[in-house]
Amino acid sequence: MIDPFIRKLEYGAHLTEQDRADLRDAVLDVCTFKAGEDISPQGDVPLNVHVVLEGWGCRYKLLEEGQRQVVALFVPGDMCDLHVQILTEMDHGIGALTDARVAQISPACIKALTDNPRIHLALNWGTLVDEGTLREWLVNIGQRPADQRLAHLICELHVRLRAVGFADEAGLDLPLTQAQLADITSMSPVHINRTLMTLRCADLIRTEGRFVDIPNFDRLAEFAGFEPSYLHLGGTKPNVQV
C-alpha cells in the first residue's frame, strides 16, 4: 500500500522518487493512540507536527459544560498544522476519534522537508485545502439543513478517503458514533439518528454496521449541494510546479 501521506501530497505537487523517499523517512516515528485519547491536548506547548497514518483524528474545542465542537477531521494522510511549533500554546485539542497510528515529525525534520521546493509546495497546498475545508464546514453548519448537512459531510469524507485509497466507489467505512457525528455537525445525537433515517428512507445512503453504502454518488452530491472544488484534488497550477 502506498503511504496515504505521500498519496495525498502527490495531488499538491509533482514529487520525485527521492521526495517520496524523504517523506517516507519523515513519518517513521509512529505513536499509537486509543479512541478518545488526546494526541495534542489544548493548553500544551506544541512540539511536533502530526500525520495520521491509520484511523481517524480530529481537531476540537471543549466548552465549560462539556459540549464539544469538532472543527476538523483527520483521515489517513492528513497532517495537523505544518508550522504549529512556532506557537506558544495549543488553542484547541487534537484527539483520536478511533484507534489511530500517528507519525510525529520534529521541527528540524519539517525544516528539512520545507527546504525542498516540491515538498514545500505540496505542504502549502495541504494547508490551503485545510483552510478551504474549514470554510466549507462553517457554511455547512451555519446554513444547510440537517439532511443536506449530514449528506455533505458524507460526500466530503467519501471523496477524501477515495483520494488516499481508503474507500472505493461503493461507499465508505464510517467508524464514528452518532455522538461524534453530532459533535462534528453541531446537531444533537437525537437529530443525527433521525437524519440518518431520512437519508436512508430517500435511498441516498444505505448503512450496514459502520459501512455507508452510496448507491448513487452524484444524486447524494446534488442533494447535499456538494461541490468538491474546495478539496483542490485537481492540484496546483502548472506554472507553480518546481
Binding site: E65, Q67, P145, M187, S188, V190, R194
Partner: protein
C-alpha cells in the same frame, strides 16, 4: 449518565432504546431543547403539526418534557 429521548412527530412516536450519555440533568435538558428545535424548524410545516420530546433518566424518571406546535389558523 445515560438519558433516553423519546420523540413524537407527525410520522409517529419513537421510543429511544439506545440513549445518549450526558454529564448532568442540566445538559440532558439542553440537548432536548436543541433536538426539539431541530425537529421543529426542519418540519415541512404543511398544517397542524405537533413535536414532542420526553427525556427519561436511567431510573425512568422524566427530566424534560417539551412540545412545539404549528397551527393552521
Amino acid at each position: 449518565m445515560r438519558y433516553f429521548f423519546d420523540t413524537v412527530d407527525p410520522s409517529g412516536a419513537r421510543r429511544d432504546g439506545v440513549g445518549v450519555d450526558c454529564p448532568s440533568d442540566r445538559s440532558a435538558r439542553r440537548l432536548a431543547r436543541k433536538a426539539l428545535g431541530e425537529m421543529f424548524s426542519e418540519s415541512p410545516n404543511v398544517g397542524d403539526e405537533t413535536y414532542e420530546i420526553l427525556v427519561r433518566d436511567n431510573a425512568g424518571a422524566t427530566v424534560f418534557a417539551g412540545t412545539l406546535a404549528y397551527r393552521r389558523d
